[in-house]
Each structure stands twice: as C-alpha cells, then as structure tokens.
C-alpha cells in the first residue's frame, strides 16, 4: 500500500499541486492529458525527482528521501529503456546482479519471469531486435525481477497495435493479481482505464481533480473536462 500526502513540486512553469492519494494493493490507473504531471508523479514516487514538500509512505515506511534504488519500486518508462548493450537475459538480471544474488538464484528468477511473461525464447536476443510488445514484456520482467513493492508503468502499451495491446492488458492484469503489489499505470485511453483500473486518479494541470473507483467516476465526473473524457474515450494529446 502506498500513501501519498501533499506531494508538491514546482519546476519552471509546471506545478504539481499538493497531491494526496492512498493506493491499496490494487491496479491504479493515472489518467490525464499531456503535461498534466503523470510522468512527473511517477518520477517523484520512484525517487528520480525530489519533491518540494509532501511525503510518500510505502508499506508503512517513509521513502520520501530514499535513493531510487533503495525504495523497492519497479519503474517502466514510456519507451521501456532497455539497456541496448545487454542481452534480454542480462537486462532482466540487471537488478539481481546488483543485489549480489547467487548465479543459481538469478537463473531461477529469470526463468520464472520469462515463463510468466512468455519471453523464454527471447533471452539471448539483443533489445534492438525485439518488437514493441516483446520489449514491453522484457522491460516488465526487468522491473519485476527486483521483487518491487510497487510497480510504476508509464504508458506501457501506448505505442502498440490493437492486438498486442489487448494481449498485454490481459497480461498486466494477471501479473498484478499474481504479485499482489500495487500497480500505478499511466495512460490516456479510456479502454485501458476500463480494462485495468480498480482505482483511477485523474490529473489535470498538475492537480488531482478526481480519484476513486471507475463506477464512482463514471457516475459523478468532477467537472466538464472529466465528463468530456468519459464521453470521447480519449484525452486529447
């Protein structure tokens, strides 16, 4: 469970305004137009940016000032950012190597994740030879390998074709159920939100304009922009 309290950041013209939210071990979708602060929120949570004020508590531990690597948060950026100089196997085991796990342990974990994400035949491949869907699953395996307490996904299926999207949506949902950790998934499509979101956070201009279950949001949309989004099914990019 993650508790975010009054998280604020001002950077140039952008301002994330005192964001507070509690996310249980559920699939939470963060939605909003470009520039709303979705990626900034993820970067604040995983420690790549420092907040001006506010606190982040993960499973009872205050992680606000911890280094990114000590937070136990998996992060999957928008274009997956696989390490191009390493094979798929080495990408997945990257975090495990840093934890100085034994070779047998690493091998076991890589095998387990590659089976779960159906990438066992890709392990010796170079990232540049992977399709978008394959790269997405490898990035996911890499983020999950460190056994995170929270997984952050920044528009993970945005650039994929319809068929791959549908398949990956199923995979994401299944993995969240299996791992039982909270997933925070940034997107701007209604279908993603509908397929995945047990909880939804709607960000607009750095402000959390609404949060809650999908039904609740559909029933009582907060303001004209949320109503418009629910009608159109997509937030204008």
């Amino acid at each position: 469970m993650i508790n975010i309290k009054n998280l604020s950041l001002k950077q140039g013209n952008f301002e994330l305004k005192s964001l507070s939210a509690d996310i249980k071990n559920e699939y939470c979708v963060v939605i909003g137009p470009p520039g709303a602060g979705k990626t900034t929120l993820l970067e604040l949570l995983c420690g790549l940016r420092k907040a001006d004020s506010g606190t982040v508590v993960l499973n009872g531990e205050d992680i606000t000032f911890l280094e990114p690597g000590k937070r136990g948060i998996g992060y999957m950026p928008q274009d997956y950012a696989l390490f191009p100089h390493l094979s798929v196997r080495k990408n997945i085991s990257f975090g495990l190597d840093l934890q100085r796990r034994g070779a047998g342990d690493i091998e076991k974990k890589v095998k387990e994740l590659s089976l779960l994400l159906e990438i066992e035949n890709l392990l010796e491949r170079a990232p540049k030879t992977l399709s978008g869907g394959e790269a997405q699953r490898v990035a996911m395996a890499r983020a999950l390998a460190i056994a995170p307490k929270l997984l952050l996904l920044d528009e993970p299926i945005c650039a994929l074709d319809e068929k791959t999207r549908a398949k990956l949506l199923r995979i994401l949902k299944t993995i969240q159920k299996q791992t039982g950790i909270p997933f925070l998934h940034v997107c701007h499509f209604y279908d993603e939100m509908e397929a995945l979101g047990e909880k939804v956070l709607i960000l607009w201009n750095g402000e959390l304009v609404q949060q809650g279950g999908l039904k609740e949001i559909r029933k009582n949309p907060a303001g004209a922009q949320v109503r418009e989004f629910l009608r159109k099914g997509e937030i204008a990019c």
Binding site: E43, C46, G47, L48, E67, P68, G69, K70, R71, I73, G74, Y75, P77, A81, F83, P84, H85, F94, G95, L98, Q99, R142, A143, I146
Partner: protein, 261 residues
C-alpha cells in the same frame, strides 16, 4: 548516366580525391629516400631516444586526457548549469588557438603567479620530460573532451535513471550503463588524443626546448634535422611517424571490429 550514378560517382570521386592526395604525399616521401638511408637515419641513438620519448609521452598523454575527459565531458552534457556554455567555449580554445600560443602561454605561466609558486615547490615543468607531457596534454585533452562529449550527446540518460531504480548508485549507473554505451566514442577520443600528442610540435618546442637525449620528441627531430639540411633524415623520421600512426590506427580498428575493445 542516370542521376543515381552521378550522385554515387560524385561522392566516391571526392573520397578518392582526398585519399589519393594523402597517398601521393607520402609516396613522394618514400620515393625520395632509399631504404638504406631510412635504416641508417632511424638507427641513430638520438632518433631512437626521441622515438621512445614520443611513444611514452603520447601514451601517457592519451591516458591522462581520457582520465580527465570522460568525467568532464559527462558533467558538461549531463547537467545544465550556469556558465556551462562559457566553460565549453573556453575548453575549445586549445583546438582553435595556434599550438605555438599554448606553448608561449605555458612558458609565461611559469614566470608569473601560480607558476612561480609551483616552481618554488619543485613543480617546475619547463624544459623537462613531464613538461613534454604537459604541453601535449593541454592540446590533446581538448580534442579528447570534444570527442567524448559527442559520444555522450547521442545518449539516452534515462537508461541511467532506470538503472538507479533497479538499485544502482550514480557511480554504478555511470559505470554499468553509460560507459559501455560510450565505449566506442571514448576509444576514438583516446586515439585522437594519442595522435594529437605524438604529432605535437609547437608547444613542446617552446615549453620544453629541443635538447637532444632530454626533451627531443620525433616532431622536434624533424625540425632539427631539417634546420641543418638533413632532408633524408627528416623524411625518415616523418615516415616513421606515419608508420606508427597507421599501424596503431589499423590495430585499434581491428580490435574494435573484433569486439575486443
């Protein structure tokens, strides 16, 4: 002739023109001296000494240039800070300035302020072998830094961010992600630094003089031999430099191609 052919011919033509220009230059040198003359010239003790000093000092310079450039270029590319453009411009000065100016400036530096203090504490580099390295370093490092910077500029630093979320410290992210990705650029920078250093003449001559068996490097030998009218000997040393450079460049390219480096 169709347009595609004209396009290709023009580009290959210009490539061939420049390649031939260089080949013809050195072919002229080769035809001017006999092998016997060449052998005789390069066997003299003073040239053997200059050869050794050139190789060692240029290697030391290349290593020092990399030690400074790899982190310095990273700082310039990775972080935006006040005055970074000015610093960048200053670091380009040794590339733009005539090398002789660097030599004179180094000499003057040791006659003033901090230079005097350094001399008083035994760090007098004027007319010394470490001075040769220092003169080569000032210029070679600027070229090295520029090349390493170009390698970093094409890099996606978000990879480092991801590495940090996986447990890396800043140092580890740099060593495990950025360095391997910039490897070829860094290697190229090392070669450029070495090539600049081994051919450096002006600042070495001004700052360290051309004392035989002391501060004489191969480019100074060429100058000394030429100034006393021994053209064959000057040419022999020139060809020796060409051979060193060509063999080293080819060897390094081969190592990179085979994935050793």
């Amino acid at each position: 002739m169709n347009m595609d052919r004209i396009f290709k011919t023009t580009f290959f033509g210009l490539l061939g023109f420049y390649f031939l220009l260089i080949i013809l230059l050195f072919a002229g040198d080769l035809s001017y001296i006999s092998f016997a003359n060449f052998k005789e010239a390069v066997r003299t003790p003073e040239i053997i000494y200059a050869m050794k000093l050139s190789l060692i000092s240029s290697l030391v310079t290349a290593v020092l240039s990399l030690i400074v450039s790899v982190p310095a270029a990273y700082a310039l590319v990775r972080w935006k800070f006040f005055g970074s453009n000015f610093i960048d411009a200053v670091l380009d000065l040794p590339i733009i300035m005539p090398p002789l100016v660097i030599g004179i400036s180094m000499l003057v530096f040791y006659q003033t302020g901090i230079g005097n203090i350094l001399r008083a504490h035994g760090f007098d580099l004027v007319y010394t072998i470490p001075g040769v390295v220092a003169a080569q370093f000032i210029i070679a490092c600027a070229f090295c830094l520029k090349t390493v910077k170009t390698a970093y500029e094409g890099m996606d630093f978000r990879l480092e961010d991801v590495a940090k979320t996986l447990g890396c410290s800043s140092w580890q992210a740099f060593c495990r992600v950025t360095l391997p990705l910039a490897k070829k650029g860094i290697l190229a920078a090392g070669i450029i630094a070495w090539a600049r250093a081994i051919g450096e003449f002006g600042p070495v001559l001004v700052f360290c003089g051309s004392t035989r068996f002391k501060t004489e490097v191969l480019p100074t030998t060429i100058f000394l031999e030429l100034s006393i009218g021994r053209i064959e000997s000057a040419l022999a040393v020139s060809l020796l430099l060409v051979a060193f450079s060509l063999i080293s460049l080819m060897a390094l390219r081969l190592l990179v191609k085979r994935g050793v480096l």
